[in-house]
């Protein structure tokens, strides 16, 4: 990114790795060093559809990708998780770690010309906290927001929140105009989430036709000097993955993050002239696949049975065959791109003989009918290109262990959600996002108090006081190395306890043409602002 500033996350202390000291930055920044960026041009991306352009009330990449272009954030996240200035030029963390003071850039204005003030920042945080699915996880410990003057905003915390700054970039806390959204209407259903959207970011909405396309144009009054480079970004609505592949091949799409291409399509696209593929830019999102077992009921309440399954399922094979070798086997609850990832976890090399012996030991010998036991494996309706073949593989490989698996494919998302959130299942293929700070995307699966009838909570029913203790410690540990050490222990315990059986990580790719310069490839990738992106001739 062009904003060249800040120290890395590693080796730093304080909130999100920031030392408790004032941090100054200059926003008139030098362009990226690796190329000669050019101003102008229209970049074509794509969208598969969205119901809102406001990331404060709607999570997910469909809203987040355009949303991060329309709305600015207090900070942004650079390469290696560096925290970089954005709307906030500087910030300081109090010695007791219980307050953070931000200074806003001078002269920043919303798309309608109204100035961006500390009141808008306060409103944005309160809105996100109340309406975003992770609002409480991110900002639950922000007890108050003070606005001593228009350019200063102070977050008062009731406990240290190490991941706070990571949550202040536009994807997770967009800066909203209070004069538009503060009219008392319900925020989730606010009409301005889709019509006449007034943002604070590098691009303005020119056309929003949910049936056909979203067009964003350059915000000439953007507060970052000489940015954005692009004149216009077009997001045509293209739902069919094969059509997208053909459009990419022909050059009708310049940049396709979250492209949904399969490994076979990737091979085809790599062969196309001027088309490139990268898996960079998804570290902070960290999507992982896993086999989720309902731990409340037999046989999966027995760790030996779960261990036997882990020994029978060859994730190396799955990574090679299903994902064409374009991903790696998952080792634990954290994605390899997460800053707190630790490889120091037990492995499960395939050993069918040992798996059979463990099942015998657990009291599940082969019965007279030739089986040890049978179970139903739910297969969700989403990410079917990964879930279906993985489920079919599990069915086939467990048959060799004399375990019967009946696959139950959900007709739609709601049906699957209903079964899992009601704990009315035996096992399911599943997957979820880590998000950069584990308090958002990881704790939810392991905390005892999150066993709730909500999807992607602790639906499997795992509860261990020792784990809870470690989660609580990690949530407030402000020393980055000490925090990494706690998360290493958490990962180890999660794998030892076989809370989930981890499948290969997802193959998520960005496909882009040679025309695209300064590809958004920081840990937040395409969900970060694109004001440095430019087009070559």
């Amino acid at each position: 990114m062009g904003l060249t500033f800040m120290k890395g996350l590693a080796g730093m202390k304080g909130l999100a790795g920031l030392a408790p000291m004032a941090v100054a930055a200059v926003l008139a920044l030098a362009p990226a060093a690796h190329a000669e960026p050019k101003a102008g041009g229209t970049l074509t991306s794509f969208t598969s559809g969205f119901r809102s352009l406001n990331p404060a009330v709607q999570s997910g990449s469909a809203t987040g990708m355009p949303g991060s272009q329309i709305f600015a954030g207090l900070i942004q996240v650079g390469a290696d998780y560096t925290i970089e200035p954005y709307l906030a030029t500087s910030w300081s963390v109090a010695d007791d770690q219980l307050s953070v003071t931000f200074t806003l850039v001078e002269g920043a204005a919303f798309h309608d010309g109204q100035p961006i003030t500390s009141e808008d920042v306060k409103f944005s945080l309160e809105t996100t906290k109340a309406n975003h699915p992770f609002g409480k996880a991110m900002f639950g410990h922000v007890a108050a927001v003070e606005t001593p003057d228009a350019a200063t905003v102070v977050f008062k915390l009731d406990q240290p929140v190490p991941g706070l700054l990571l949550s202040l970039q536009p994807l997770l806390m967009p800066i909203l105009p209070k004069h538009v959204y503060g009219d008392g209407q319900e925020l989730k259903q606010h009409p301005r989430n889709m019509e006449n959207v007034v943002g604070s970011g590098p691009f303005k909405v020119e056309e929003n036709n949910p049936a056909e396309r979203l067009v964003l144009v350059k915000n000439e009054n953007f507060f970052v000097k000489d940015r954005p480079y692009l004149d216009r970004i077009v997001f045509p609505v293209v739902k069919d993955p094969l059509t997208r592949v053909l459009m990419l091949e022909k050059g009708e799409i310049d940049l396709a993050p979250f492209s949904g291409v399969r490994p076979t399509d990737a091979k085809r696209l790599e062969a196309a002239r001027g088309v490139n593929i990268t898996t960079d830019g998804y570290g902070a999102i960290g999507y992982i696949h896993y086999l989720e077992l309902n731990l409340r009921n037999k046989p999966f309440s027995d760790p030996k049975v779960r261990h036997a399954l882990a020994l029978a399922i060859d994730t190396d094979f799955l990574a090679k065959v299903i994902f064409g070798g374009r991903t790696v086997p998952g080792t634990g609850p954290l994605h390899t791109g997460n800053p707190f990832y630790s490889p120091d976890v037990p492995g499960f090399a395939r050993d069918m003989e040992k798996a059979g012996a463990m099942l015998d030991e657990a009291g599940y010998p082969v019965g007279a009918d030739g089986t040890r036991f049978s179970f139903t494996l739910d297969v969700p309706s989403w990410a079917i290109q990964a879930h279906v073949p993985m489920a079919e593989y599990i069915q086939a490989t467990l048959k060799k262990l004399n375990i019967g698996v009946e696959l139950r494919r959900a007709p739609d998302f709601g049906t699957w959600v209903k079964r899992i959130a009601a704990f009315d299942y035996e096992a399911t293929m599943n997957g979820s996002f880590n998000y950069p700070d584990p308090t958002i995307g990881v704790h939810r699966h392991f905390a005892c108090d999150n066993i709730r009838n909500v999807i992607w909570a602790n639906t499997q029913g795992y509860c261990d006081p020792a784990m809870d203790e470690m989660l609580a410690a990690a949530a407030v540990e402000t020393d980055i190395e000490a925090r990494k050490a706690v998360y290493a222990k958490i990962q180890r315990k999660a794998v030892e306890d076989l809370v989930f059986i981890y499948m290969p990580q997802d193959f998520t790719a960005t496909v882009y043409s040679d025309r695209v310069g300064n590809l958004p490839s920081t840990p937040f990738g395409a969900l970060a602002p694109w004001y440095d992106v430019y087009l070559n001739d």
């Binding site: 036709n209 949910p210 049936a211 459009m247 739609d412 959600v417 209903k418 999807i455």
Partner: protein, 322 residues
């Protein structure tokens, strides 16, 4: 005539009412819960919000009450509120119905006219290359699935020989003049309309060929020829008028099928019509939107059938006297 038209219109209205009630009952009895889907899309929720949503959508009431309320609202022009888009269903449908009608009518009209002409030409020269072409085209049109035809046409006419755009209805940076816009839409329309219409083109060419052959062998055509009438007059005035009757009948009946085909074609070509909206609504359990689309699809079919009836009467005066 007026009485007959009124009677047919009353029948059509009764049919639409039945469609409304049956669709509502079937969708609400099918598995899948719109509230669960909606909260899933939101990323999670609480039991309180789920209960609140269920209540606000009226899903906590008995089915017969829901049906009665729905029919009553529809009669007043209120098709409900989309769960997913959070907009009135009527607004959503009116925004999308134009592109679908454009696609469907273009496909069906082209297929009928071109198919009939091909059939007529090939019937006159049974062993000509055109006749063989019609046969091959029919076989291909019938055998190939719509989505496959779409992808093949894209590969051929958009990727290999880049004549037409792959997807969408217009360019984002298209011409600002009306004529420029019309030409832009026409350029985008060619491949989806061809994909959707190919199977019907095949069908109508076979149908009109067979019908024409039968008519050309009939006594009155032979008489007309014996009287020395010009060949063109015999074929296009006397023979074609009778030969075209089955084509008109089928075109009316098949309108519903063409709309069904549009769901796939619109998805492949990212055409911003009712088909893609229907596809999304099914996946998202957006029942008010889906019900609205089904109703409007039924309405289009009913109107088309009435229109067919009128055209039929115009072509064949014998119908009027019955």
């Amino acid at each position: 005539m007026l009485l007959q038209t009124l009677r047919k219109s009353a029948n059509a209205a009764a049919l639409l009412l039945a469609v409304l009630v049956l669709n509502f009952a079937m969708i609400h009895l099918a598995p899948g819960d719109p509230v669960e889907t909606l909260v899933g899309e939101m990323g999670g929720s609480t039991p309180e919000l789920i209960a609140q949503l269920r209540q606000s959508m009226g899903l906590d009431r008995p089915l017969y009450v829901q049906i009665a309320l729905y029919v009553g609202n529809v009669l007043q022009g209120d098709f409900g509120h989309s769960y997913y888009y959070d907009q009135p269903v009527l607004d959503l449908i009116l925004a999308r119905i134009g592109p679908t009608l454009l696609l469907v009518v273009t496909a069906l009209f082209s297929a009928t006219v071109i198919g009939t002409l091909l059939g007529v030409f090939s019937a006159q020269r049974r062993s000509s290359w055109l006749s063989h072409l019609v046969t091959v085209l029919s076989l291909a049109g019938f055998s190939a699935p719509v989505f496959w035809v779409g992808i093949m046409l894209i590969l051929l006419l958009s990727v290999a020989v880049p004549i037409f755009p792959i997807a969408g209805m217009s360019d984002a940076l298209g011409s600002e003049s009306t004529l420029g816009y019309v030409l832009d839409v026409a350029r985008h329309l060619v491949l989806p309309a061809l994909t959707l219409g190919l199977i019907y083109l095949a069908f109508y060419s076979r149908l009109s060929r067979a019908s024409m052959l039968e008519v050309l062998g009939s006594d009155y055509v032979r008489t007309a020829r014996a009287k020395g009438l010009p060949r063109r007059l015999v074929i296009y005035k006397h023979a074609l008028r009778n030969a075209i009757l089955p084509v008109v009948t089928f075109a009316g009946l098949q309108f519903g099928q063409v709309i069904s085909g549009a769901v796939l074609v619109e998805t492949v070509f990212a055409w911003p019509g009712l088909g893609t909206l229907a596809f999304d609504s099914i996946l998202r359990r957006d029942t008010p939107t889906l019900l609205g689309i089904l109703f409007f699809s039924a309405l289009m079919v009913v109107v088309m059938n009435l229109a067919t009836d009128l055209v039929y009467r115009r072509i064949d005066p014998r119908i009027k006297t019955r």
